[in-house]
């Protein structure tokens, strides 16, 4: 009952956010079922306007843009989600270790993170990709590593605050191990800010992957992804054909949705009462 009650209290903007996220998730899961054509099937002439047959027209090779949008959701969102998960697991693990153990380990980790954060993210990613070449696993690992630095900073700071509380002290005197402390005492209490951060990091990672794909260095064709679709169809815009705006708008749409929910969670986490 309490759950239903708290659902009712969700503000309007956050509801829109949830709706947008659910819509995107549903589309990603159901892409092969609902799309009218195959992901890379050529079905019509190049850059056709929208019609009965092709709802959003066709792209630079004559593929159905609507189909590519659905598959693009699947590819782009799943890769961004996996990257964020990896970044979070790494960031939180090291952040909590640094906070609970302290000492030289904390110093070492924090200095490494300082250096990584002093380096502009996009430039770092570009340099690594120039050396090892572009592939999805490389993309995921590089972006997760770069992004985990921010997660590390936050989770270390949050864990520092929780670590000095009496219940942690009590558990420690009980003889619990560090790993147990991190999982059962610190993690549950650090949840609200971390959940909000997950949303923010997802947005960042999602935009970052889209940008790299737009630069031609992310997810490689013929796999459909939103950033790459903008790049492939960019030439059309000078003829007044708005095809590249569809995937770009889809990226903006999902990011706005996540941000709306994050704002609401941040509001709750800050402990402010309406």
């Amino acid at each position: 009952m309490a759950f239903v009650k708290s659902l009712r209290k969700i503000p309007f903007t956050a509801r829109i956010g949830f709706f947008i996220i659910l819509l995107n998730v549903a589309v990603s899961l159901l892409a092969p079922v609902i799309s009218p054509y195959g992901e890379t099937a050529i079905v019509n002439d190049v850059w056709m306007p929208s019609s009965e047959k092709n709802w959003m027209g066709t792209d630079q090779l004559g593929r159905d843009v609507f189909t590519r949008m659905l598959y693009g959701a699947r590819n782009t969102i799943s890769i961004a989600f996996i990257t964020t998960l990896l970044s979070f697991t790494t960031g939180i693990t090291f952040g909590f270790i640094a906070a609970t153990l302290g000492g030289w380990l904390d110093q070492l980790l924090s200095r490494i993170v300082d250096i990584l954060m002093a380096f502009p993210t996009l430039i770092f990613a570009l340099m690594v990709l120039s050396l090892v070449g572009t592939s999805v696993p490389v993309l995921i690992i590089v972006i997760a590593l770069l992004d985990s630095t921010r997660v590390y900073r936050l989770s270390r700071a949050v864990a520092m605050d929780i670590e000095v509380m009496e219940f942690v002290e009590a558990a420690r005197l009980r003889g619990e191990r560090t790993w147990w402390l991190m999982r059962h005492e610190i993690l549950p209490n650090a949840m609200p800010p971390l959940v909000a951060e997950f949303g923010l990091r997802f947005c960042f990672v999602f935009l970052f992957i889209a940008s790299l794909s737009f630069l031609g260095l992310g997810i490689q064709p013929p796999t459909a992804d939103w950033g790459g679709m903008v790049r492939e169809n960019a030439g059309a815009i000078t003829f007044g054909i708005l095809t590249p705006l569809w995937p770009a708008a889809a990226i903006a749409f999902l990011t706005v949705g996540v941000n709306l929910v994050v704002d609401w969670i941040l509001h709750i986490a800050s402990g402010l009462k309406d």
Binding site: L122, V132, S211, I237
Partner: protein
């Protein structure tokens, strides 16, 4: 005063260390490649002779630390080696492109900084008003929109539908100044839109923070006029965070140009970097990456130093 000098000195030291570490990382990147760089770049089918010649070209036959110092010395003397793609000196490729990037970024900054500060202050003063709400919706969308989305909307509107501006920012050195500004107006507007949102949001937060402090309440309770409270009490204290915000966003701007340059096919350093990454032209990537990193670290350093200097509490210790 002495404390400030020490603090500033420390930051400079830290900045210098960061740049050195970054340069080592950039250099080491090539070393860390699995297998041999030459074969990795030339491909498995390359003949041993080509590989040997290529190794000599990259000076791979010398030990790593020797190459690092030669590379670093060359970098600061303006000799950055030759491009692998076309054999031309890297310094020549980078020179005017870097100037173009700085030109684009500073044009955007010249519009964005005053705009963001004024809007941020107004939004903070009239909190929860319709103006503030419009601004927060605007910032939310600017943060959520990818740069290329904003850029293509601007192109579709102002270059294709109403043909006010060129859709490609083709710049050359013969152009008179105002013609140059006209050419790069759409890219700089794109950058302005993105940076203004961040700056405005942070300026607003900084000012609201100051307005909530006890000394402002004190001034209000003394019955001072609102304008006097803002100009003489709040502003000097808000200056430090605002300057910090501006410098941080300038750093963001210099790196944020990469995508905007690609959209508008602008002959800048970011465009060169992206091209060289796809061609795997390592010397160009290393040199332009290091330049970007140095500018970024310097601007962050500037943000730190300015916020130390402009903080009244640090300037007048008891």
């Amino acid at each position: 005063m002495k404390d400030i000098a020490i603090m500033v000195g420390k930051r400079f030291g830290l900045g210098l260390v960061t740049i050195v570490v970054i340069s080592v990382l950039i250099f080491m990147g090539v070393e860390a490649l699995p297998g041999d760089v030459a074969t990795a770049i030339l491909g498995q089918s390359a003949t041993p002779e080509t590989v040997a010649a290529f190794r000599k070209e990259l000076k791979l036959d010398l030990p790593a630390h020797v190459r690092y110092f030669t590379w670093l010395k060359g970098f600061f003397k303006g000799d950055m080696g030759n491009s692998l793609a076309n054999g031309r000196p890297v310094a020549g490729l980078i020179g005017w492109r870097f100037a173009n990037t700085i030109f684009l970024a500073s044009t955007a900054a010249a519009i964005a900084v005053p705009l963001a500060i004024i809007l941020g202050i107004i939004a903070a003063l009239y909190r929860e008003s319709w103006f503030d709400k419009t601004i927060s919706i605007g910032t939310l969308s600017a943060i959520s929109f990818p740069e290329f989305f904003i850029a293509y909307i601007l192109i579709a509107l102002f270059a294709v539908k109403y043909q006010f501006f060129p859709s490609l920012a083709e710049l050359n050195n013969q152009m008179p100044f105002w013609k140059k500004i006209y050419t790069i107006l759409l890219p700089s507007l794109t950058l302005t839109f993105i940076v203004t949102a961040h700056m405005m949001r942070q300026t607003r937060a900084a000012i609201i923070n100051i307005l909530a402090s006890p000394f402002i309440e004190m001034a209000q309770l003394k019955g001072l006029k609102k304008l006097r409270v803002i100009v003489l009490h709040a502003f000097p204290n808000a200056l430090s965070p605002v300057i910090n915000v501006v410098a941080l966003n300038l750093a963001y701007l210099v790196v944020g140009v990469v995508i905007v340059e690609v959209v508008f096919v602008y002959p800048g350093l970011g465009q060169l970097l992206v091209d060289s990454v796809s061609k795997r032209d390592i010397p160009v990537v290393q040199a332009s990456g290091l330049i970007f990193a140095i500018v970024y670290v310097m601007l962050n350093l500037l943000a730190d130093v300015l916020s130390i200097i402009s903080n009244p509490r640090l300037r007048n210790p008891r």
